[in-house]
């Protein structure tokens, strides 16, 4: 892969760029290359800024690609992404990455936008017997929760770090995993999100007896 100025990329038109929670957006554009659920794309708005990577959140057979992203106030790309309007251009690389080999009965653990590859897998029908543990600061950041409640029922566990006690688990995913009674060391675990979340959760899983060979992570570095 060459540097951004040299790699082939497509120009796509933005079909929608919708705010789904404060500072969080779903960006849609036309799919022009097949992909495997769990893969990522590099996105850019101009050649001046290095591209950033985004997991594809839509199903493999959808005609549109959906990207779920949060705006970083001090970030270089996301403040520009959030300003994109319908019909404007976006630079899109081919899909790549291998966070795609999902074994049966997986436990998906995600923080924030780390839910994206798991959404793609679920919507594509690539994963069965799933438990999904998702962490977010406030209830509005449980993207896709309507769909997930319908699909996964009790196997969809929301860990809300700044919620009042109620129907959700109050605390971070790491707090949940530490005390999770149903943790099964034989299931495969898939982690996705920031390095901090992944490293901490991986350590907890290991300390609870999950073999490292059962843990696969995607880090949003």
């Amino acid at each position: 892969m060459k540097s951004w100025n040299e790699i082939p990329y497509d120009i796509q038109r933005v079909i929608s760029n919708t705010a789904v929670a404060p500072g969080a957006y779903i960006l849609k554009f036309k799919k022009n290359n097949p992909f495997i659920a769990g893969q990522v794309l590099a996105l850019g708005v101009s050649k001046e800024i290095e591209p950033r990577y985004y997991s594809i959140a839509s199903a493999e057979n959808d005609e549109l690609i959906s990207i779920l992203y949060t705006e970083r106030v001090e970030g270089k790309l996301t403040p520009m992404l959030s300003l994109l309007n319908l019909g404007e251009n976006i630079m899109v690389s081919k899909p790549f990455g291998t966070f795609t080999h999902i074994k049966p009965s997986p436990v998906f653990i995600a923080a924030g936008t780390g839910i994206a590859p798991f959404m793609s897998m679920l919507l594509t029908g690539k994963a069965s017997g799933v438990t999904l543990i998702h962490g977010a600061p406030y209830p509005e950041y449980f993207y896709y929760s309507d769909t997930l409640i319908g699909r996964l029922g009790e196997n969809y566990i929301r860990c809300c770090s700044r919620c009042q006690p109620g129907c959700l688990f109050v605390g971070r995913v790491t707090d949940f995993v530490k005390q999770w009674n149903d943790l099964d060391v034989n299931r495969p675990y898939y982690l996705c999100g920031s390095a901090e979340m992944v490293v901490e959760t991986r350590d907890i899983l290991i300390s609870r007896g999950v073999p490292v060979s059962n843990i696969n992570s995607e880090i949003y570095f």
């Binding site: 892969m1 060459k2 540097s3 951004w4 790699i7 990522v40 990577y53 790549f96 990455g97 291998t98 966070f99 920031s194 390095a195 901090e196 992944v198 490293v199 991986r202 350590d203 290991i206 300390s207 073999p211 490292v212 060979s213 843990i215 696969n216 992570s217 995607e218 880090i219 570095f221």
Partner: protein, 340 residues
Amino acid sequence: MVPLYGKTLDELKSIVTAEGLPSFTASQIADWLYHHHAESIDEMTNLSKKAREMLSAKYTVGLSKPERVSESADGTKKYLFPVANNRFVEAAYIPDDDRATLCVSSQSGCKMGCLFCMTAKQGFQGNLSAGEILNQLRSVPEFKNVTNIVYMGMGEPFDNLENVLKSLEILTSKWGMGWSTKRITVSTIGLIPAMNQFLEKSNCHLAISLHTPFDDERRMLMPIQNVYPIADVVDELKKYRFSDHHRVSFEYIMFDGLNDTPRHVKELVKLLNGINCRINLIRFHPIPDSPLRTSPDERIIQFRDSLTAKGIFTTIRASRGQDIQAACGLLSTKALQEKR
């Protein structure tokens, strides 16, 4: 105050132009910073008094001494340096018979999450500027003895490519420190786009953290495998011509029962076929709560011999500074970060 140390000649030219000073002043400043090792603007005596006053109002040389040193029984020293935003990094000075290597950090913490690494447990706090990277060399008391520099401390150098390239430019330029590129090695886990830029822009040696040739195993040890599989990294490397002047080596930490079998030797040979390279085998230095163990010495030797027999030049790296947590994979300033 803006530090001058770590600025390239072009950056110094922009500074002097902005201050309305003659453009040759930039070369004079570079000379003071990187040849004469000046510690203050006042020392730059061939600059006019007015120029020094103008610069001193906004700029400083910006060196910072290590805050702490730990010394190993084997002579290795670990230095703790303060960097921006109340963060710290560590650098390891490793003297040997005829050489002395300094292992520098490029980031405070790291985002890459490798399973075997203490820095990963610290998370990421920030990139180092070129000046902060070079300050680790300039400000160790053994500065003048250092013969080799390796970017293998805290952080992934290619996640901070711009500053790493700037620091290399300063280290190797005639107007800078004038080091030979043969004395410098930059180590990466294989961030392909940045690695390609490095190979196009720099002739310093490259080291790739390989650790296992098999996908599933590498994914377990290094999440980056999901983004840039090692086979793709190697395919990219095959496009470059490596020689003794511009060398590529592979770092291979030996984990007991995990990546130290004849099956691994066979696959490594297949993977690296066609690249002029060497492999460095490294003992794993256990980190707290790690499920991983280092391979026994006899297996490491066997592994080396098998690779050598297959025509791959393979060495076993001596473990240094383990008693002061300065050995490979042990650098962390998390405890300090938490105190602040």
